[in-house]
Amino acid sequence: MKRTTSRKYVLTKRLDNYFYGVNNAYLFTADFFKQALRRPFHFKELVNQCYEIGLRALPLITLTGFIIGIVFTKQSRPSLEDFGATSWLPSLLGIAIVKALGPLVTALICSGKVGSGIGAELGSMKVTEQIDAMEVSAINPFKYLVVTRVLATTITIPILSFYCSVVALIGSYINVHSEENTSFVIFFKNAFSTINFLDLWTAVAKAVVFGFTIGIIGCYKGFNATQGTSGVGKAANEAVVMSMFIIFVEEIVIVQISNWIRTF
C-alpha cells in the first residue's frame, strides 16, 4: 500500500513538473513576442548575433550540403536507371533538396551547433550571475540576450537553408555532370522545373519555423539553467535534444498543411 502511494506521489510530481515546464515555456515564448515588438531594439547586437550564428554553422553546412548532394544523387541513380528514368534525376534532386533536405539538414546541424551554443552560453551566464548583473544594472537581459538571439536564428537559418540547398545542388550537379556530361543550365532548369511557388514558400516557412524553434529552445534552456557547471552542460544537451524533436514534429505538420493547401 505504501509502495503504491509512493509511486503515485512520484508520478504526480513528475506530471506536475512536466506541466509546470510546459507553462513556463509558453510564458517564455509569449514574453518573446511581447518584448520583440517593444523598444529599445538592439540592432547592433542582432547583427552581431546573425554574424556569429552564420559564421558558426557555415563550414559544417557547406560540407554537409555538398556531401548530401553527391550521396543522394549516387543513391538515387540506380533506382531511376532500373526504370530508364535517369533524365528525371535533376527534378528528383530539386524536389528532395529544396523542399525537404535543405531546410531539415540545416535545422539539424544548427540545432547541434547553434542551439547548443546558445544554451551553453546563456546557461553559463545564468550560473555565473551575469544575467543577474544585467538585471541589477537596469538592463533587460531577456530583451538583450533572448530577443536578439531568437530573431538572429529566425533570420539566419532560412538564409543558411537556402545556401545549403544551393551547395547540395552543386554537389549533385558535379556528380550528374561527371556521369552524363549535362550542362549546368539544363541541370538547374530541370531541377527547378517541378518546383512551384508553394513549394518554395513551404521551404522558407519551414526554415523560419525551425530557426525560431532552435533559438527559443536554446535560450529557454540556457536562461533557466541551474546547478552550476553541470547545469550548463545539461542546458546545452537539452537544447539540442528538444529542438531536434520539435523540428521533426514541425516538419510533419508543415508538410501536411502545405499538402492541404495544395488541394485547393
Binding site: 529599445p40 550571475e129 551575469q130 548583473a133 538585471e135 544594472s137 538592463i139 533587460n140
Partner: protein
C-alpha cells in the same frame, strides 16, 4: 580603520520590515528587519546558507519576498512595475560574489555597457570620461583592454565594483566582497569599499562571513542566525554579547 563619512540617521535609504523568504520547505529568512541610513555601512554577518545573499537579492528586486516590506529610497521594491524598478536599480550598485563580469566583453566594454544601455544618447567622449573615472577609482587603469578571464580574483572584484560605480549609485550592496581572496587583497578590497563610500557618498550593505572585513568596513554589524538577526550594533558591542551562537560564530572565525 575609522570611516570618515557622516551618517545621517534622519534619512533611511533602506528599510526592511518583517521579511520572510522560503525556497520550498527551506525557510531562509524568518522575520528580518533592518534600517540602513544615509552614509552608513551595515555588515551582515552569518554562516553560509543563512540567507545573507538572499536578503540583498530581495533588496535589488532579483527575488520576491514571501512576506514583509522592503522600502528602498522611499519605494516599496515588491510593488514596483519593471520600469519603475529599473529606474530604482540605477541608484543601487550590486557587487557580486564572483564579480559576474561579462566574459565575452573586455574590461572597457564591461564598464561601458551599463552606461551605454541606460543612457544611449551619451557621446563617446562622455562615456570614455566615465570609464576613466571609475577605472582610476579602483586603480586598474592599465587593464582596460584585458578580458575578464585574464584578471586575478582581486582585480575582477575591483572591476565588478567599478562597473557598478559607473552608474553613480546611492546604495552599494556587496555580496561577499572578500570571499576567496588572500589576506592582502582582502585588505585592499576593504580599503576600496571605504574609499567608494567617501568618494561617492554611498550607503552600503556588506554581506560577509569575514570578521576582518566586517570590522574594517562596517559602522554597524548585524548577525544573521537561523533566519533572524541575533544581534545588531557596533562591532565590539555585538561580539561582547553573551549570546552563545554569536560567540560560536566569533570563535569559528577566529580559529579560521
Amino acid at each position: 580603520m575609522e570611516t570618515l563619512h557622516v551618517i545621517d540617521y534622519n534619512e533611511t535609504v533602506i528599510s526592511i520590515k518583517d521579511l520572510y523568504k522560503s525556497f520550498g520547505d527551506l525557510h531562509v529568512l524568518k522575520g528580518v528587519s533592518l534600517d540602513l541610513h544615509k552614509g552608513e555601512n551595515i555588515v551582515v554577518l552569518g554562516k553560509s546558507g543563512t540567507g545573507k545573499s538572499v536578503l540583498i537579492k530581495i533588496i535589488a528586486g532579483l527575488l520576491k519576498p514571501d512576506k514583509g516590506e522592503v522600502i528602498v529610497l522611499g519605494k516599496n521594491v515588491d510593488k514596483l512595475k519593471l520600469k519603475e524598478l529599473n529606474e530604482l536599480r540605477l541608484h543601487i550598485g550590486f557587487s557580486f560574489q564572483n564579480s559576474a563580469l561579462y566574459d565575452s566583453m573586455n574590461v572597457r566594454r564591461n564598464l561601458e555597457f551599463p552606461l551605454m544601455m541606460n543612457y544611449p544618447k551619451l557621446t563617446k567622449k562622455e562615456v570614455d570620461a566615465a570609464v576613466e573615472e571609475v577605472i582610476e577609482a579602483v586603480g586598474l587603469k592599465n587593464k582596460l583592454k584585458e578580458m575578464p578571464a585574464s584578471l586575478s580574483g582581486g582585480q575582477r572584484k575591483r572591476i565588478g565594483i567599478a562597473r557598478t560605480l559607473i552608474l553613480k549609485p546611492k546604495i552599494m550592496l556587496y555580496d561577499e566582497p572578500t570571499a576567496g581572496l588572500d589576506p592582502i587583497t582582502c585588505t585592499e578590497i576593504n580599503q576600496l569599499i571605504n574609499e567608494v563610500q567617501e568618494k561617492y557618498n554611498t550607503s552600503s550593505i556588506i554581506i560577509t562571513h569575514d570578521l576582518t572585513c566586517a570590522k574594517a568596513t562596517g559602522d554597524k554589524v548585524a548577525i544573521l542566525i537561523d533566519g533572524q538577526f541575533a544581534k545588531a550594533g557596533k562591532f565590539d558591542e555585538v561580539f561582547n554579547s553573551n549570546n552563545e551562537l554569536i560567540k560560536e560564530f566569533y570563535n569559528y572565525n577566529f580559529i579560521q
